[in-house]
């Protein structure tokens, strides 16, 4: 909620100043509490997964990569533990993106900008960079003092600055280094990187990601969220009155006084707010805003102001959660003397959950029933049919066999449909005349030219469906595809 301010009390904008505003450096104070603990835990989890996942091994058999998560661009394959995807199956990523987007909406309708505050890489890395900064240069007040100081720099201060930036660059370098490991066999690439034998593109990508991590988490920080990210704008359009957001409960906090004055007024039986104007919520805020001004674009809802305020409330003996996850509906209900209502289950959240379940269900189903043997057929267009010297008709097809498994297969192919049809595969002499056999190497495709010949006596129909059956001779796995047999 925005409070009305008398214009005369405010510092006026300078009309003759530049057309831009300088970035106000934010010095978040360290804090401990529930939300800080959650953030530390999530940071450790997210970074742990990101940095170490490429080293996890997964046995796929001889000849196949044994990296659990691998994007193999040269061979156009994507490996994720037991899943191996081919480029034509990119729709799984589409499904994943739909689930991710709707999960973001769901998080938003339940607890506001959960993504921004706890999980977004920008938040996680910035948080890590702040932790480094705090460790080396000290907490909020010390850092502000050191930055303001106009004294000539001493060796101690210079070494602090050098150390901070070195560690930042090291984190950035590791971030870039982990990135490239997802595209190559990690242990091999690490060895190559160390001995300077890795491909140039690997060093270039490490360089790019070192630079982006260093600049975005070390310098741009909250500016990324406020000016560069589209999500705050989209989020504002997707929220509703029931979504829980980090909120200053002004019904409880106003009117603000000092601790001493509040005690005096309470003794007189007067109504006083719990906010003692200690500015702790502002001091810990990583985006440098005052949550008491109501919901703001800049607020990433990391919950650190809740921890800060809780600590103060505990000290002055007032109930916790003057700032907490809440919404305006409940503030108004409390002002009217009604009990607060929390509606997590409502049309919006049910709809989002249903979409996630539906898309996720379809994905799991198609993955579980995904065939490792497939066949595609394309009829020759010119000529569509050929009359042979004995009067019979022949059609030619381009048949592609797909072997998505990790071992070579012997595939038999036969065609049915036209009466007395015979099948011939160019380049294949088969002992079984009506059922040529082809070896399809592991994890690859074979394109065949297939001829189907049929006598078609009498007055043939213009077009007869023809079905191509392919059978794995060893395993009995089958696949089939249908096309047409055409008379000239």
């Amino acid at each position: 909620m925005n409070r009305t301010v008398n214009p005369k009390e405010l510092p006026l904008d300078d009309d003759n100043g530049p057309l831009y505003v300088a970035q106000k450096k934010v010095y978040p104070q360290s804090i401990s509490g529930t939300f800080r603990r959650i953030k530390w835990g999530l940071m450790a989890f997210c970074l742990g997964v990101y940095y170490f996942l490429p080293f996890v091994r997964w046995n796929r058999g001889l000849g196949a990569p044994n990296q659990a998560v691998l994007i193999d661009l040269p061979n156009s394959r994507f490996y994720f533990f037991f899943i191996e995807l081919w480029p034509q199956e990119v729709y799984y990523f589409t499904g994943l993106l739909i689930v991710a987007a709707v999960a973001l909406f769901l998080m938003n309708s339940v607890g506001g900008r959960i993504w921004c505050g706890y999980l977004c890489p920008q938040t996680v890395w910035t948080d890590l960079f702040y932790a480094v900064e705090r460790l080396i240069e000290g907490d909020r007040r010390e850092r502000m003092k050191k930055d303001k100081s106009s004294d000539p720099m001493k060796l101690e201060r210079i070494s602090e600055i050098v150390l901070k930036h070195s560690i930042w660059l090291l984190i950035g370098w590791w971030t870039g280094g982990a990135w490239v490991l997802y595209f190559n066999d990690a242990p091999t690439l690490v060895r190559e990187l160390v001995t300077f034998q890795a491909p140039m593109i690997a060093y270039i990508w490490i360089g790019i990601l070192t630079a982006t991590t260093y600049v975005l988490a070390g310098f741009m920080r909250e500016q990324v969220c406020t000016y560069m990210c589209p999500w705050p704008r989209i989020q504002a359009a997707l929220t509703d009155e029931w979504a829980l957001n980090v909120t200053y409960r002004y019904d409880r906090g106003e009117k603000r006084t000092s601790v001493k004055k509040a005690a005096e007024l309470r003794a007189l039986g007067e109504q006083v707010g719990d906010c003692v104007d200690c500015y702790q919520c502002v001091a810990v805020c990583p985006t440098g805003i005052d949550i008491r001004n109501g919901p703001q674009l800049e607020c990433i809802q990391c919950g650190l102001c809740i921890d800060a305020c809780d600590n103060v409330m505990t000290k002055i003996g007032r109930p916790k959660r003057l700032i907490g996850y809440d919404n305006d509906v409940n503030i108004q209900r409390r002002q009217e003397g009604k009990a607060p209502v929390y509606r997590i289950v409502r049309a919006r959240t049910v709809a989002y959950s249903a979409i996630i379940a539906a898309v996720g269900g379809i994905m799991i189903y198609t993955l579980a029933t995904r065939s490792l043997l497939d066949v595609n057929v394309l009829h020759d267009r010119n000529p569509v049919a050929v009359r042979l010297s004995d009067g019979s008709i022949r059609n030619a097809y381009t048949v592609r066999l797909l072997n998505k498994s990790g071992y070579d297969r012997v595939i038999a192919i036969d065609a049915s449909g036209p009466v007395n049809a015979t099948i011939h595969v160019i380049g294949i002499d088969s002992v079984t005349q009506d059922r040529p056999m082809i070896v399809v190497p592991r994890d690859s495709t074979s394109e065949l030219r297939v001829l189907v010949t049929a006598p078609l006596e009498g007055n043939p129909e213009k077009s007869i469906p023809v079905r191509f059956h392919v059978t794995d001779i060893g395993l009995g796995e089958v696949a089939s595809a249908t096309d047409n047999f055409v008379a000239p």
């Binding site: 000016y227 042979l388 380049g427």
Partner: protein
């Protein structure tokens, strides 16, 4: 200039731009400094582009840029690289025998891909893009071959052609029995009907089969063989099958016997390199009719 000082939004306490729509005023929200700097840097970067790359049109041509970069030169490099990659494969193709190529899936795929492109450029005008042929131009997908349908025979025909004037070309033609006065018109009609009967087609009323047989034995057997089975040595077609290069109706047959036929297939040796001709032979053979 609007006086912003007098125009403060009471809720936010910030000045407005002075723009007003139906009582709604726009807050003055200046851009962050880094954004403005980045914006100017992109302009500087663009100027760099003008200098480094081809950019400004001149009266004839354009500025070429510092390094003389052009996309056309890029394409030339790419094509040269492609040729380098292909080079080794085409050498392998040239070294393998025709039968080996058909048995090796990788060589077969290469030969078919190469053959298809070269066929489109050189053969399609007569034989059609898929080799389906036309009147007087054989269909290369069927199993009827004037000069033989084995890999070697197909390659020989591509190399030297038919009646092409090349020293090693296929010779032999359908004589003009009518034009040259060898057969009388009514004998030609009888011969035409005899030929139709050979492949089971109906004959006209009053046709004398014995007379037809006699004419055929005296004039046609030399090339077309006993019973009209044809002879690939002479390019004489099999007259008993269902495939007709010029047509099987009586009028067309009469025309063929009277005027003769001598279609020309050019020789490709010297115009295409040996590896390409091999690829062509394999491609044509793999169209389906190859023997």
């Amino acid at each position: 200039m609007t006086d912003h000082h007098s125009d403060i939004d009471p809720v936010s306490g910030r000045s407005t731009t002075g723009h007003e729509w139906d009582g709604i005023k726009e807050l003055n929200t200046p851009l962050p400094r880094w954004w403005v700097i980045t914006f100017y840097l992109t302009i500087v970067w663009a100027v760099g582009y003008w200098i480094v790359y081809p950019a400004w049109p001149l009266i004839s041509g354009n500025t070429t840029g510092l390094f003389g970069y052009s996309t056309r030169a890029d394409v030339a490099v790419e094509l040269a690289n492609l040729e380098k990659i292909r080079g080794a494969k085409m050498v392998a193709l040239g070294a393998a025998s025709l039968v080996e190529i058909e048995k090796d899936p990788a060589l077969l795929a290469l030969a078919r891909a190469k053959g298809k492109t070269v066929f489109g450029d050189n053969c399609a005008p007569c034989h059609g893009s898929g080799g389906a042929g036309a009147k007087g131009y054989p269909n290369l997908n069927d199993d009827d071959w004037l000069w033989g349908g084995s890999l070697d025979q197909i390659m020989q025909t591509i190399q030297f052609g038919a009646r092409s004037g090349h020293a090693k070309t296929h010779e032999g033609q359908m004589l003009a029995f009518g034009k040259d006065g060898v057969l009388k018109p009514e004998e030609i009609v009888t011969a035409a009907n005899y030929v139709r009967a050979l492949s089971g087609l109906p004959t006209r009323k009053g046709y004398d089969a014995a007379k037809g047989e006699k004419i055929f034995a005296e004039n046609c057997v030399a090339c077309h063989g006993d019973g009209g089975k044809g002879n690939p040595e002479m390019g004489a077609p099999n007259l008993t099958d269902k495939i007709w290069l010029y047509g099987s109706d009586e009028a067309t047959l009469i025309e063929t016997i009277s005027q003769g036929r001598a279609g020309v297939m050019p020789a490709w040796e010297g115009r295409l390199d040996p590896a390409t001709i091999k690829a062509m032979a394999v491609y044509v053979h793999s169209l389906g009719g190859g023997k």
